[in-house]
């Protein structure tokens, strides 16, 4: 095993870690506010990738415009889903919303299959980001480095917005105690809708970033969502910082595991989850389950 191969694998790990981090961050924000697991998260991620593809095909929009506009469009779809469907089940056991969002994921996936088949279509790497950079120890595709940078910036921005801004303070207050927050005159209902839309928009952003790295297909969401769930279980639900760190960490560990023993690549994350569950059932950053009603 050469140092350059090791470095290459670490970079590969950071790339998959970037997706895990963005997706589990969105799941965590939604879970923190609403106590629901958003099973449709992978479907919104897939819609993000298709959004980028369709924006280029139909409107001729560049990758950078897609990066800006597609998450907004995906977030809007999320807001519609929250207002029309998810909201109605909020008073019930959170399992019902897990089931509902599973149904939503199924409908979105098969809807896209009807129009785009299962084969998928490639999305060109944005002009100016093609080729590889020599980093001394190894050469690495430029686009993937930019991808990791954008995802990291987005994660830090979200963390900052929630921990350090007045709006973030309201969200944290509503997460902690919705009734009391409402009593202080803060519109928790609107805040909840916006939070869901925002979490889903992050999945859309991840989808746009993923489009140039993979074939854009209707099933790409259901491929990644289960792994993301495992990441969320490892990190513990609801922690913003925890999901970002765990996302990147798990990505790198899985990539390094593949260096040592290649066949384990796909299963390592799930083994990691089993080990964490045995040692620390609440996850690395999780709180005891008392709050999970």
């Amino acid at each position: 095993m050469t140092p350059s191969y090791l470095a290459l694998q670490i970079f590969n790990g950071l790339v998959s870690g970037a997706f895990y981090a963005l997706l589990s961050l969105g799941l965590s924000i939604i879970f923190g506010m609403m106590r629901i697991v958003n099973f449709a998260h992978g479907a919104f991620y897939m819609l993000g990738a298709f959004g980028a593809y369709l924006a280029a095909q139909w409107l001729g929009l560049s990758f950078w415009w897609a990066l800006l506009l597609v998450p907004l469009a995906v977030g809007l779809l999320g807001i519609i889903a929250e207002r029309t469907l998810i909201r109605r089940l909020m008073p019930l056991d959170p399992l019902y919303n897990l089931l509902l969002t599973f149904g939503i994921a199924l409908v979105i996936e098969d809807f896209m299959k009807i129009f785009f088949g299962t084969q998928g279509t490639p999305y060109a790497i944005p002009a100016g980001l093609m080729g590889a950079v020599n980093l001394g120890i190894t050469a690495y595709p430029l686009y993937r480095l930019v991808l990791v940078a954008i995802a990291t910036l987005a994660c830090i921005a979200v963390w900052f917005a929630i921990e350090k801004t007045p709006l973030g303070a309201k969200i944290r207050a509503a997460t902690e105690n919705p009734t009391l927050t409402q009593a202080f005159g803060i519109d928790v209902s609107t805040l909840t809708t916006l939070t869901y839309g925002f979490g889903v928009a992050l999945a859309g952003l991840a989808g746009v970033l993923a489009a140039p790295t993979t074939n854009v297909t209707p099933v790409m969401g259901s491929d990644i969502i289960i792994t993301t769930f495992a990441v969320v279980v490892i990190g513990g639900m609801g922690s913003i910082k925890g999901s970002i760190i765990t996302g990147f960490l798990v990505g790198v560990i899985a990539a390094l595991g593949a260096v040592i023993y290649p066949p384990i690549a796909n299963t390592l994350i799930f083994l990691l989850m089993a080990i964490v569950l045995l040692i620390r059932p609440t996850g690395l950053f999780g709180q005891p389950e008392a709050t999970a009603r």
Partner: protein
């Protein structure tokens, strides 16, 4: 709590059981034999799933690992070692039980959505492992050409009608057994845990042990169904281990009505008949219509969303509720 077992009084249940049995006997005269066999096998799977969801309150999103895992165990033993029906099916069930004990030991301490996510992840792990060890499992190709094994020494199961009634008998016996389990004192404790776990624990019941046993029993019957599935189809594939298969049994159970044990039987029938009707569209000349037939998740997903949003008792649950008024 996710569900309340309704219509659990003896007389209603007896009637429902008789209706289900009559439907099972008539089924091959209504739909083609392959679909009839599928309906009964999936009905068994869904009933096993309901024992866990409706009566214990545990939502497993990884039941495909027992269904698919058992189908591979049974399929391999018949294909490679020429085992006969009874030992091959039993081995599939044992395999499912062993997996449930392992997975349950790790995950049973977590509740609700966590349990759902953890079982989902373990199910996916088995999917990847099965794909990985392609030299044994056939990888992407699955196990092809599994012959129908002999039963009771010399009787072959080549005749689809004979095989159907064998499957029906096994399913009926399994459901009688599961009904006994949920009405037994053990089942009463499961109900208590579902309604209020801390309270059941404060009464001295070791909730995790009860839940683990329920998980294992449910997995055993899911495994039985999976073993029958590979024999019925003469093949099995990675699809049986896909998490969409876990989702499929969830949909069937909720469609029929969870916590009714008989509801999921009708849910399975409803699901598979719609699926079958849609798949006839797949040969349509219009490409959009053909693709629509290939994507039953659109129609079934919408139905599922309506059921979860409005008719949470499911078909049989809502009917029972209407009759009671």
């Amino acid at each position: 709590m996710i569900a309340r077992a309704i219509g659990s009084d003896r007389r209603t249940m007896l009637w429902l059981g008789l209706i289900a049995l009559a439907a099972g006997l008539l089924l091959p005269h209504v739909v083609y034999i392959g679909l009839a066999t599928d309906i009964v096998i999936w009905a068994l799977f869904a009933a096993a799933f309901d024992m866990l969801l409706g009566y214990t309150g545990l939502l497993s999103f990884g039941h495909a690992m027992f269904w698919g895992g058992a189908s591979y165990v049974t399929g391999l033993l018949i294909l490679r070692a020429h085992w006969t029906f009874v030992p091959a099916v039993l081995a599939g069930v044992v395999g499912a039980v062993a997996m449930a004990a392992l997975v349950g030991a790790v995950s049973i301490r977590r509740q609700g959505i966590y349990f759902a996510m953890i079982t989902l992840a373990f199910g996916q792990m088995l999917y990847f492992l099965t794909n990985q060890f392609g030299e044994w499992t056939g990888g992407q190709d699955g196990l092809q050409g599994v012959p129908r094994p002999v039963v009771f020494g010399h009787m072959t199961l080549e005749n689809d009608q004979v095989f159907y009634y064998l499957v029906l008998a096994l399913t009926a016996l399994s459901i009688v057994f599961m009904r006994r389990v949920v009405t037994s004192p053990f089942g009463q404790v499961l109900g208590a845990i579902r309604e209020n776990e801390p309270r059941a624990m404060s009464l001295g019941y070791r909730a995790n042990v009860y839940k683990l046993v329920a998980f294992i029993i449910s997995a055993a019957f899911a495994g039985l169904a999976g073993s029958l599935f590979v024999i019925a189809h003469r093949f099995t594939s990675l699809d049986t281990l896909d998490w969409h298969t876990s989702g499929q049994v969830v949909i069937m159970t909720l469609l029929g009505g969870m916590g009714t044990l008989f509801g999921p039987l009708f849910g399975a029938a409803f699901y598979l008949v719609i699926n079958d009707r849609l798949s006839t569209l797949a040969n349509a000349s219009n490409p959009l219509l053909a693709q629509f037939g290939h994507s039953p998740g659109l129609v079934l997903g919408v139905i599922f969303i309506v059921v979860v949003s409005v008719f949470r008792r499911g078909i049989v649950g809502e009917l029972l509720n209407a009759l009671r008024r």
